[in-house]
Symmetry: C2
Subunit: 402 residues, 2 copies
């Protein structure tokens, strides 16, 4: 059968990859919960009506819309924000501010040649129902904590606000060009503006505006609170634009420079969006973290060399059919002590094959109970990395791992 494979843009997460993902998710959850955010999960499918007409026709082309077996028009989740708006509408009694995080896949029929995933894991953290600058600052502090917790050495959190940008120009097309200043040179952007019909004077005024821009009192307060909350490396950057039809106040984006990852978070305040998505009229602020990108980079660059390939600490081998029982009992004792233990299932396999299995799975230690060890009530333990072996009583082996 030719299609016994994953669909393009979809991925299997085999055990080693899952180990990285699980640790990333655990670190992020711990940070979110430290700030009082709770987990929300919403269904994979929504009524098509909930999804469509919200983000424009370009987005809709990427949506997985279809009829379910009962003839309903449905669609796969496109992001976490539309479901959040629906949840706010459907459960009006949720205590507000509603502080939730959500880590689930979204589905977009993207061009896979741009190495985009069609099932992408989104990780969103948002506060709904307050205009307080504290809520904005908390999101910045969470980003800083999360990136530090993930072990990224150098990053900056660039912040700006819609109000500051609109003080420089209200022309959205001009702002789109300004947004390219982190990838293109100033001259290239100036040329682009000139092609868009701006006079040299107008262009100079815009660049002068950018050079002299300062955080307004609202942004100053947000940055100040964020720093009091422990956020590091927050930098005002009047060149940061993001999607202005969407955001109503502060906007932010993270650049991780060591390792070189680039932008992995983006967010801001969006006080009208929940209503425009069909929810109630509630202000909100939040960020998305590029979970897939974070996990991929950590795996590709081996940023966590200490993360074990396997959660299993030890493989208990079976020396021979008649030494099956002590191997069983040892496995059981190790597990009772909370030690992740794999017992090789095949009593007829040669010891060499069992050791190769431990190596292939990245299990760091192997226990062997041969006739001598059994006679002495001991276990031979082999460190698979160094090849070192020693014999010791079961209780000492348990203490070693505890």
């Amino acid at each position: 059968m030719s299609t016994i494979q994953t669909l393009k843009g979809f991925r299997d997460f085999l055990p080693e990859t899952m180990a990285v993902r699980s640790r990333v998710i655990n670190i992020l959850k711990t940070v979110f919960e430290k700030y009082g955010f709770s987990e929300l999960q919403t269904p994979t499918l929504e009524y098509a009506e909930v999804l469509t007409g919200k983000y424009g026709q370009e987005a809709e082309k990427l949506m997985y819309l279809f009829q379910d077996p009962g003839g309903r028009k449905v669609g796969l989740k496109y992001d976490m924000t539309v479901p959040l708006a629906r949840v706010m509408a459907q459960y009006p009694d949720l205590p507000k501010p509603f502080k939730r995080y959500q880590i689930q896949p979204a589905f977009r029929a993207e061009n896979t040649q741009k190495s985009r995933y069609r099932e992408l894991y989104q990780c969103d953290v948002d506060t709904v129902g307050t205009l307080s600058p504290l809520a904005d600052a908390e999101i910045l502090a969470i980003i800083s904590d999360a990136l530090t917790g993930l072990g990224f050495k150098e990053f900056k959190i660039r912040v700006n606000s819609r109000q500051i940008l609109f003080g420089i120009t209200k022309d959205l097309s001009v702002l789109q060009s300004i947004d390219k200043l982190d990838k293109k040179s100033a001259n290239e952007v100036k040329q682009e503006l000139s092609q868009k019909g701006l006079s040299p004077d107008e262009i100079q005024n815009i660049f002068a505006g950018l050079d002299s821009a300062k955080p307004d009192p609202n942004l100053t307060q947000i940055m100040d609170i964020a720093e009091k909350l422990g956020a590091r490396n927050i930098e005002f950057d009047p060149r940061l634009v993001r999607g202005l039809d969407y955001y109503t106040g502060v906007i932010f984006e993270t650049m991780v420079t060591e390792p070189k990852i680039g932008s992995i978070t983006g967010g801001g305040r969006y006080d009208n969006l929940i209503k425009s998505l069909g929810g109630p009229d509630l202000p909100a602020v939040g960020t998305t973290l590029g979970l897939d990108r974070i996990c991929d980079v950590i795996e590709e660059l081996t940023l966590w060399p200490d993360l074990p390939k396997s959660a299993t600490k030890i493989l208990v081998t079976i020396f021979s059919q008649d030494l099956y029982s002590p191997a069983l009992i040892l496995s059981s004792s190790l597990r009772d002590a909370g030690i992740n233990t794999e017992l090789y299932p095949d009593a007829s396999a040669k010891l060499d094959k069992q050791l190769k299995y431990a190596n292939a799975k990245g299990i760091p230690y192997v226990a062997i109970i041969g006739p001598e060890e059994a006679a002495q009530n001991e276990v031979k333990v082999k460190n698979m990395a160094t090849g070192e072996q020693k014999c010791l009583p079961e209780q000492e082996l348990i203490s070693f791992f505890s």
Copy 2:
């Protein structure tokens, strides 16, 4: 808009429900990993060809099959076994035995009147690539450990095997009637068999066969190893049938009797299935755990009264605009100490409103820094359950939670 709601058979998991689910999943993962199983995740979507033609027409009617925006015929995952077979085919170099667990949603357009979910979370644990009875026994030990870990007081793991059943009768229709013996009386089942055309003698022979049935050597060995691995409450039950077209050896099912939940796991050995699903010719054994049912029962019967409604330990209130700063600093110190802390975002909200918010969210403690406390460098802490209040220095508050 009328369809601003979840689709029937689909569910939002709001924070309180998620707290139960997260704990259940953590307990299960810990048990699986203790036995050396690793996590696998596969995509939500598969080629339709991977899904169809595997489980018969009845199953196919329940599948979500559709065309993606690129015109491919695709479908939503129907279970975890077909993707497992595909993974075994797609990655032939995976070390074997391949021991994996998988906790992800599957999709079935079931009749929702039977209170079935259309997006149901499956939790499967399987060993692929070995015929060893140890692998069967490990699955039984895992079930026992998982149910004990979840806190279920009384359960039995009923075991039987296809070989034993076929020694009594090879008539599948008769076996289907026998399978009802845990719900119907012996007389009702005898009547049913009579209606199926069996003579009184034949019926008597079948019941005599059931009464005198004993575990065969293979099943005896599996039960024996499972008990050595610490599995509790394994009972041979020749009346257990399950899906015989599917299983090739041992079969098992769990009955939880305290609390009264009924069957929440089912599995067995299926040595031909992976091949018949399009995978390689590999024997396998495993079980599924009814995750949704387990979570629902724990929540409905409040089986975990100690599980906090909220992961947040304390709400730091803001007494007034000018006492904002000490509240900020306190929150930051608590978080630095790893204590999940929520800071009420609105400095203009009355204290009463802030306390109500803590109550609504189930946050157990509230910190108040009023003018007196600020002057004395102390924090007033209120236990929301007892109403008890006391003043203490910040460091003592941190020690209290640590």
